[in-house]
Structure formats: structure tokens, C-alpha cells
Amino acid sequence: MQGLITYKLSCIRGERSVFSGLDLAIKPGRALLLSGANGSGKSSLMRVLAGLLPAASGHIEWEGEDISADPDAHRARVAYIGHADPLKPSLTATENLQFWAQLYGLDPVVEPALYQFSIEHLADVPIRYFSAGQKRRLNLARLAVGQNSLAGPALWLLDEPATGLDPGAVSMLANTILAHLSNEGVAIISTHGGRLDQLIADSADHLTLQTSRSGAAG
């Protein structure tokens, strides 16, 4: 079991090099906690690993296979949480979750996921009445939807997932992540430190991205 490995990965945003020569190796069942100052390239790295952003150079392997060999298969194994919550204000919590589950070919029974993040009482409430923290919980509940099926994504890419969460919700998130890791899943989590790091510390490695010193990518 090899998990996720990157070789000499580099990324250019606009005309600026955000990181270069990045080597990572994460075994199944482990998480990587990614820290670094603003602009150090955490989000860009997440997007490169998800396949949303092409790498300027280097390559990424999953279980020993280059992901560019089969991008569709790679996308199918990725669960991505970005900065924004991709939820539609006019749809209810259930409808929002169900849409993503169906689009990703996952089991559209979403109640357990709502329970997992303690928002089951909001199941039929349109998102426009949600607070920012509640929206975040619902977005994270997407992770729980596919979790227990074999088809569920194996690679979780969580870009500052704990933003706006109260301590209770952070524990729920930590439990969800730990359950994922115990299923031999891989998670990469960008963070600015805090409770989440402590809660999953036993299963996680740390990496601090340095702000890129070379602005030119020549």
C-alpha cells in the first residue's frame, strides 16, 4: 500500500511560482496536516492534488500509478472541501446533499450524514436560513455521505475545513476524519493550528509550506 506520493511537484499561479520541487508521501490511513503562512500555496497544492489545477512540473502518484494516466479515476477518488460552501440558498439541506451524492453516484440517503454533524433538525430548511457555521457543517456532511460505501472517495482534500466551526463541530469533523483514516483512507488537511490538529494528531504528520522564495519560474 503506497497511498499518495508526489515527485518534484511545482505550481505557477498567474505568473508567480507558489511552490516548487515538492515531494510528499502519505500512506493509507494517515493524514497530512499542512500549515504555512498565507500565500505559501496550501490552497494551490490542494487544487493541484485534486486535479483542479495543472501542475507546472512534477507528477503525482496514487497507489504507484501516475494520476495523469486516468484523470477520471483520480477525480472519482477525491473529496474536496474548498473555502466556499457549494450550497444553493433556495434548496433544503437534504436537497443540497442529495444532489451532490447523486451526481457523484453515491447513496443518496443523507440523514446519517446530517446526524453526524448534528444538523438533522435542519434537514428540510432552505440553506438561506443557515448560519455560516451551519453551512460549513452541511458542507462537511458531504464527506460523511460517501464514507461507508466502497465507492466513496479515498482521498480527502480539506482546505481549512475547521473555519467557522464551534468546538463541538470540530470534534464531529475529527471523528469523521478518523473514521475515514481507519478505513485506510488518506486525508490532506490545511490548517492554521487548533483543536482539529490535536484531535487527529496520532494519525497525522505535519508539513509546513515555506513561502516560495523564487518569484520567477525560469
Partner: protein, 67 residues
């Protein structure tokens, strides 16, 4: 003199021929001036940037060249 006036008159169509040629010359001139000016400003910006970062990567290339 006669010849010149007759020539400038363009067979009675001076009001069309000369403006047409004049506007063409004007557009060509504007394109030339803006192109040259952008080259000048870019060279100035490049020199200023090179002075700011002389110690490091003085021969840095434009981005994306190693992709």
C-alpha cells in the same frame, strides 16, 4: 503649379482620396507610436526590476518557459 493643383484635386475627388490616405497614415502612426512606447516603458520597467533584484536571478526568464 497647374500640374500640382490638378494632381492634388484628384479628378474632383480630393475630398475623399486625401482624407482616406490621411486617416490611414494616422492609424498607422498611432499603431507605431503605441507599439514603440509600450516597448520603451517595458524596457524601463525591466531595467528597474533588474536593478531591484540584481543579486538574485538576474537572468530570470519570462514565466512558463520550463513547462
Amino acid at each position: 503649379m497647374e500640374v500640382i493643383i490638378k494632381y492634388l484635386d484628384m479628378g474632383g475627388h480630393a475630398a475623399f482620396v486625401w482624407p482616406a490616405l490621411g486617416i490611414t497614415a494616422l492609424v498607422v502612426l498611432v499603431m507605431t507610436v503605441t507599439s514603440l512606447r509600450s516597448l520603451r516603458t517595458s524596457e524601463r520597467a525591466l531595467r528597474a526590476a533588474e536593478k531591484q533584484a540584481p543579486q538574485r536571478r538576474a537572468r530570470a526568464q519570462a514565466p512558463g518557459t520550463d513547462a
